[in-house]
């Protein structure tokens, strides 16, 4: 969806067309899912945060000036709500992240398992690795390497200087490689 289309639907929403908002949700829900699930794990709480993202977007639309792309704006809400959720879990002393291998195994990954077991196992392995990474590194890797945002966009979304984003990306990648090697001794030896 182009910026022009986004603007068209935003105007429709502001005129009271709720169907236009459902089009926006359909368009961006997978992007939000990738951010919240990679940040929080494949648990129902990730979908709750996803819903909250769109509720906040709906409330904020009258003030949306279009300075940033809508996709960037939505991702920014998603990453910040995910970080807030991680802080809440820390304060409550609950597990910082639950992966799909536990009881909270989730529908989509079950579907993936039935379709392609090797894909499921790889995703599960990466998910575990991300879960063991500190949130400041995880957030940068999710935005830069999973979602493919530029350094500049990542800086804007996380309110961080460029040097910090680049440093966290490099350190986070190295840490993740170490973690993945520990989780799977064959990692790095297979081509």
């Amino acid at each position: 969806m182009s910026n022009k289309e986004d603007t068209y639907y935003i105007n429709k929403i502001l005129e009271g067309d709720s169907n236009a908002f459902s089009i926006i949700v359909d368009r961006y829900k997978d992007r939000v899912a990738s951010v919240t699930i990679n940040m929080l794990g494949n648990v129902p709480a990730a979908e709750d945060v996803g819903q909250e993202v769109f509720i906040r977007l709906f409330r904020a639309l009258p003030n949306f000036r279009g300075d940033a792309k809508l996709s960037t704006y939505i991702t920014r809400i998603a990453i910040n709500l995910s970080l807030t959720e991680i802080d809440k879990r820390k304060r409550k002393g609950t597990s910082p992240l639950v992966v799909a291998t536990s009881e909270g195994e989730y529908h989509k990954q079950i579907e993936d398992r039935s379709e392609n077991p090797s894909n499921f196992e790889t995703r599960e392995w990466i998910q575990k690795g991300l879960a063991m990474l500190a949130p400041e590194f995880r957030s940068v890797l999710v935005l830069r390497l999973v979602e493919g945002y530029s350094v500049k966009e990542t800086c804007q979304m996380l309110d961080l200087p460029q040097g910090t984003v680049l440093s966290r990306q490099a350190r986070g990648t190295n840490k993740l490689k170490e973690i993945l090697s520990q989780l799977n001794p064959h990692y790095g030896k297979m081509g």
Binding site: V32, I37, G50, Q51, I55, R123, L145, Y187, G188
Partner: protein, 99 residues
């Protein structure tokens, strides 16, 4: 299959999606929120009415008690009901004055 040592490739494939009824759930939440907003006065009333009632009851009780004590002075016996009109000089004096 992905190259196992290519971390960027692995992460770029780490996509997810929500349940199929996700959009419907969001739209329901927004609709429910709009209804609450439309009847905001009712929501406020529901939230504050019990407190207002309790506060009003306490204020009325204080008013009655202050009126009572201003007329009779503070006397525990009149509150507990053990005072005897025939023997209690305080009550006798009050009653006669009123009569």
């Amino acid at each position: 299959m992905e190259k196992w040592d290519d971390i960027e490739q692995l992460l770029s494939n780490q996509k997810h999606s929500f349940s199929e009824d996700f959009t419907a759930k969001v739209m329901d939440s927004i609709e429910a929120g709009s209804k609450n907003k439309a009847s905001g006065f009712q929501v406020t009333l529901d939230r504050w009415f019990p407190r207002i009632s309790l506060g009003a009851a306490a204020a009325i009780l204080l008013l009655v008690m202050s009126f009572h004590f201003s007329e009779t002075g503070f006397n525990m016996d009149t509150l507990t009901g053990v005072a005897d009109l025939d023997t209690d000089p305080f009550l006798q004096e009050t009653m006669f004055n009123e009569l």
